[in-house]
């Protein structure tokens, strides 16, 4: 029973999972029924893996992080209060795991990426930086952000959450989501600008 559906389809399917059915799977898992947990993992694994892959850009790292996320979910499930969607809680754990991994990662920066950027880079960085280098710079910059910014940003950029979903997942007002994302992106732009600017 292998799954292979796109992120959005998975996300929608998970949202449509009746609350009671999910509650039953949680109950079974907490009582030690690994089949119940398998069913839960099956429903969310692809989403977590996709976001981890988008964030980390590497299959092995994304797979490891996804494993860690579901181990954490299994261990913490007895304390989970099923007052809101399980998916939001799982994605919150995943966004922490992914951004912590980004923070720990010390990607090797190639000499190519250290080359001086021409002035035109400021207008359209993607024309100048290779897509790969741009993505690496983005990942490093996200890894350096303060945790509360990283968390909200990861939910938006990697998990493709709406502002409303981020608010629900993080238990914060939507205004706070807006302000965190705005501040996070401001810092991100500063970081990326510094990366793009070559030596004088």
């Amino acid at each position: 029973m292998d799954q292979a559906a796109p992120l959005k389809q998975d996300s929608q399917a998970a949202q449509e999972l009746p609350f009671r059915e999910e509650a039953e799977l949680i109950r079974r898992t907490v009582q030690g029924d690994t089949d119940g947990f398998r069913e839960l993992v099956y429903r969310y694994q692809r989403q977590v893996y996709v976001s981890a892959y988008r964030a980390l850009g590497d299959h092995a790292q994304a797979e490891d992080v996804t494993q860690e996320v579901f181990l954490k979910v299994f261990r913490s499930l007895p304390q989970f209060k099923h007052e809101k969607p399980l998916g939001h809680w799982i994605h919150r754990i995943a966004s922490n795991a992914v951004t912590d991994q980004l923070r720990r990662s010390r990607p090797v920066v190639s000499l190519e990426s250290m080359e001086r950027m021409p002035a035109s880079a400021q207008k359209d960085p993607q024309d100048v930086l290779s897509a790969k280098e741009g993505r690496e710079a983005l990942r490093r910059a996200i890894g350096r952000l303060p945790k509360h910014y990283r968390q909200a940003l990861a939910l938006q950029l990697f998990h493709e959450y709406s502002y409303q979903e981020i608010a629900s997942a993080l238990d914060i007002p939507i205004g706070t989501v807006m302000s965190r994302l705005s501040s996070a992106k401001r810092l991100l732009r500063q970081e990326l600008r510094a990366h793009l600017k070559g030596p004088e």
Binding site: G32, T34, T66, Q67, L138, K147, H148, Y163, K185, R189
Partner: protein, 266 residues
């Protein structure tokens, strides 16, 4: 209609690019963009950033089977000594359990179990005794103290089990410890016994360090970390007087500040 100020627009540009602004505000932001070069430059950068994010690759399709096989092999075994339906109602079962204790006590096993470790056949009796003690203790403060005592017992078990290389049993004790700490935290949040358990909970951290130092097993280390986080959550929040200037905080401090509460500042 009053137009948004430059600062207000700057704060909303990110949401504007994300399409998260209401239709009542969007035209005002668009109008400001037409007039403000600084905001236009910021807007352009945000658009490039969004393009960069969209360029992050989607992964290849991966089969679920091997992922699950690997995960299942790593799952800690979760065993319950009470049948599932009874677990949920165990406090209501206190009188029955008390009777059971008498029966167990009659054969002398209950008291002999007091020093039993998870690898002992009497360990289940020990847990049963503790649960009965909690079940028949109605005073909230006394219950909290009992839970703190049992938490220390679980920690001692985990320490002993890791010392003897029985990491799977250590994980079981740590998971039980985590559950107790969570219950103590709930009691603390309800204002029960603000004076006592806090210091005891802090002393758990030193014991957790010992457990962690004794093992290289990732599963034990991860569970220790989970318990630490639970301890952090369970400690009663204290209001400390402000000292000096702002202190540079690490991620853990930030995380603590991030716990949902009223009037959150950003």
């Amino acid at each position: 209609m009053k137009l948004l100020s430059h600062a207000q627009v700057a704060d909303q540009l990110s949401a504007y690019v994300d399409g998260a602004l209401g239709s009542d505000v969007r035209p005002e932001v668009a109008e400001h963009l037409g007039e403000c070069a600084e905001c236009r430059a910021e807007h352009a950068e945000l658009v490039v950033l969004a393009q960069l994010v969209r360029s992050l690759p989607k992964p290849p399709l991966t089969p679920f089977g091997p992922f699950w096989a690997r995960l299942e092999a790593r799952l800690p075994r979760r065993r319950s000594w009470l049948p599932a339906p009874l677990v949920a109602r165990r406090w209501a079962l206190a009188p029955i359990l008390a009777a059971a204790l008498l029966a167990v006590g009659a054969v002398g096993g209950a008291y002999a179990s007091e020093g039993a470790y998870p690898d002992s056949p009497l360990y289940g009796v020990k847990l049963l005794r503790e649960d009965i003690q909690l079940g028949v203790t109605s005073d909230k403060k006394a219950r909290t103290h009992l839970m703190v005592r049992f938490a220390n017992t679980r920690l001692d078990e985990a320490r002993t089990m890791t010392r003897e290389g029985k990491d799977a049993l250590a994980v079981q004790s740590l998971l039980r410890l985590q559950s107790l700490v969570q219950q103590i935290g709930t009691a603390n949040q309800r204002g029960v016994d603000q004076s006592g358990p806090d210091s005891d909970l802090q002393s758990l951290n030193a014991g957790l360090d010992e457990v962690e130092d004794q093992t290289a097993t990732p599963e034990v280390r991860e569970t220790v970390e989970a318990v630490r986080q639970e301890v952090e959550r369970a400690e009663p929040k204290k209001v400390e007087p402000k000292r000096g200037g702002p202190k540079e905080s690490d991620d853990k401090d930030r995380e603590r500040q991030e716990q949902p509460k009223g009037g959150e500042r950003d």
